[in-house]
């Protein structure tokens, strides 16, 4: 009998190593229980990536193509998001000045002066934040602009 055959026969004895029959009888039950708890525990993102991995696993030679396609989609998404945030950033600030940190887009118009009938008293005498006198001669605290 060849040596290789002897070794084969010796190793084959390992097939007698096995758990009890009870183990296999309980296996399916535990399988169901694990599936249920996985569904409850798994995050949406985790399940999404797992599904994606399973889906792309079968592309074989086209795996590179699938990866490139996904990279393009991600790149386009980034560009769209950045374009949207750039428009918001270039809107004029509350005091009418431009935020010079962002690329130049549109110069805001200077605020128009209020007509005189709305401002009956000359304001050049009273700087902003200082009192003003009304018709009755009462002192009023001007709102700071």
């Amino acid at each position: 009998m060849s040596e290789e055959n002897e070794i084969s026969r010796l190793i084959r004895l390992k097939r007698h190593e096995r758990p009890s029959e009870d183990y296999f009888e309980g296996f399916v039950k535990e399988f169901h229980s694990r599936q249920r708890s996985e569904l409850l525990r798994g995050s949406t993102r985790g399940i999404f990536f797992e599904r994606l991995a399973t889906y792309t696993a079968d592309f074989g030679g086209s795996r590179m193509l699938a990866g490139a396609g996904l990279a393009c989609v991600a790149g386009i998404a980034v560009l769209v998001i950045r374009a949207g945030s750039t428009e918001v950033a270039n809107a004029p600030t509350a005091d009418g000045s431009m935020d010079r940190s962002m690329p130049f887009r549109v110069q805001p118009e200077k605020p128009l002066p209020l007509p005189e009938e709305i401002m009956p008293y000359p304001t050049d005498i009273y700087p902003a934040g200082v009192q003003k006198v009304n018709k009755e001669g009462d002192l009023l605290l001007l709102r700071e602009f």
Partner: protein, 201 residues
């Protein structure tokens, strides 16, 4: 005169009906597939890991993955070959990630070993096998298997322990039959060194 080529009939997949029903959402059909294949897959994973707890966890993951991937099973191979491939790949990936060698956690050896023809013959001829306990023999065999590389251990498990032919192993591993034979040859040489004292009469 034109000779007609013999048409090779592919063996019908015994699990085809259960697979079709499981794909349609019949969970009881998938449960039947689990019950049918658990024992053999347990043997595959256990002999590759020599650890009962790891085998249990892996087996659960294997069937979970098979269930999720079932819709894309085309039937080009038998279901058995398909799930066997999943099992081998997942076990090999697990062993690669398991950085340090895990302590063995061995199943009991069933009493059937005493009636095993090979065991009876070897204990009658080889003193070293006769002298050690079955527990000690089991430990030595497992230690020898764990010294092999993961890929070599896989082919020894499938060929020697589970009795699969070279052709089937090559389909499962996705390699040529020649590669399977050369891996087996090398693995057997290694095992002869590790188990040298068990071969002396």
């Amino acid at each position: 005169m034109i000779k007609s080529m013999p048409i090779r009939k592919r063996k019908p997949d015994a699990d085809a009906d259960l697979v079709a029903r499981a794909k349609d959402g019949d969970t009881a059909a998938f449960d039947e597939l689990v019950v049918k294949h658990t024992q053999k897959l347990y043997g595959l994973v256990y002999n590759m890991t020599s650890n009962h707890e790891d085998t249990h966890d892996l087996l659960q993951d294997i069937f979970a993955k098979a269930y999720r991937s079932l819709k894309r099973f085309r039937g080009k191979s038998s279901f058995y070959t398909w799930i066997y491939s999943i099992s081998v790949n997942m076990t090999l990936n697990f062993l690669k990630k398991r950085k340090r060698r895990q302590a063995m956690s061995l199943d009991d050896v069933d009493s059937g070993i005493h009636n095993d023809k090979d065991f009876i013959e070897m204990t009658s001829k080889v003193d070293t096998i006769r002298e050690v306990s079955i527990g000690e023999l089991q430990k030595r065999l497992n230690e020898a298997m764990m010294k092999l590389s993961d890929d070599h251990r896989a082919v020894v498990t499938m060929y020697d322990i589970q009795g699969m032919p070279h052709k089937e192993i090559s389909k499962i591993l996705g390699v040529s039959e020649g590669t399977v034979r050369s891996r087996l040859f090398y693995a057997h040489r290694q095992l002869q060194n590790f188990l040298g004292d068990f071969r002396k009469p």
